[in-house]
């Protein structure tokens, strides 16, 4: 039972310090830096992904040998993350670029004008 006799859980402390640092860095990038909005969004999302990785690998025992690695379904977690990325990015892409609101309204106006012209003749 007492195989883990280490008194100090070094990995957890390192993970904790890293996650606090990354959070503060993200807050600074968002509210304190002079980056453009696009670069703020890109950089804080990258920081979030790194921090999620720290949680998974340093806190959730994903790499420990005791679980013989076969018992953490890497493929399942990877599958989940890929699906999540597709759902979020795909929805955003479809709803932002799938069709053009202004173009549509413009066409409708044109059609109405044409219609009026026709009826005028």
């Amino acid at each position: 039972m007492a195989e883990h006799t280490k008194r100090i859980p070094v990995q957890h402390i390192v993970g904790f310090v890293l996650s606090i640092t990354l959070t503060l860095l993200a807050v600074w990038a968002a509210l304190g830096s002079n980056l453009s909005t696009t670069w703020i969004i890109v950089s804080i999302m990258v920081l979030a992904v790194i921090q999620a990785g720290i949680q998974l690998f340093m806190f959730m025992h994903m790499t420990e040998s005791e679980s013989r690695n076969g018992h953490v379904p890497w493929n399942m977690m990877f599958h989940g993350f890929v699906l999540a990325a597709i759902v979020v990015a795909g929805s955003l892409f479809t709803m932002s670029f799938g069709h053009d609101h202004n173009g549509g309204e413009h066409n409708q106006q044109e059609q109405q004008e044409q219609h009026q012209q026709h009826s005028g003749h």
């Binding site: 039972m1 007492a2 195989e3 883990h4 006799t5 859980p9 957890h12 402390i13 993970g15 904790f16 996650s19 606090i20 959070t23 993200a26 807050v27 968002a30 509210l31 909005t37 703020i40 969004i41 804080i44 999302m45 920081l47 979030a48 921090q51 999620a52 949680q55 998974l56 806190f59 959730m60 025992h61 005791e66 679980s67 018992h71 953490v72 379904p73 399942m76 977690m77 599958h79 989940g80 993350f81 699906l83 999540a84 990325a85 759902v87 979020v88 795909g90 929805s91 955003l92 709803m95």
Partner: protein, 201 residues
Amino acid sequence: MSSHELKSGPLEYRTEQGQMNILGFWIFLGAEIVLFSTLFATYAVLFGRTADAPLPGELFEPGTVLIMTFLLLTSSFTCGISIHEMRRGSVKGLTTWLIITLLLGLGFLGFEIYEFIHYEHEGATLQSSAFWSSFFVLAGTHGLHVTLGIGWAILLLLQLAKRGLTPVTSRKVFIISLYWHFLDVVWIFIFTSVYLIGMVV
């Protein structure tokens, strides 16, 4: 229960039942990622559709959100320590750190409830616009998960007090630790893509 029990390694992995339950829980977490992704997608698509309700940038406060983030990050850390104590065979260490984890979780919930009430006073409710609906559903689902986790952990603490550390109780505690760390992973993304981006854009 499997007939063969391992003699070494962490208690929770020694029976085949324990190994399979932990594997199953990882698969559940994979599905949870997809569940939250649909809520994130809804939020991202409805971003800016605030109608006459206040804009997110007007209501989000860096101070409150940062306190909530630190509470949850620290609770994830103390939850890791409680598993560390469990592996050292210390029921007392395990319960102490688990209770600290729960108190931090309760603190987080308290701030979230305060925040939601504050938003409601400012005119942003579930019904006020598409944006705020998606916000409350996303943050609320996470808050519901935290609430369930706290209830679950209290029941486990009762079992630990009654039965002590066995392959069964240690497996249950290990699984709830995975759940708790996962809540932190989801919160990191809510903190970044909802609060930080909401304050910047």
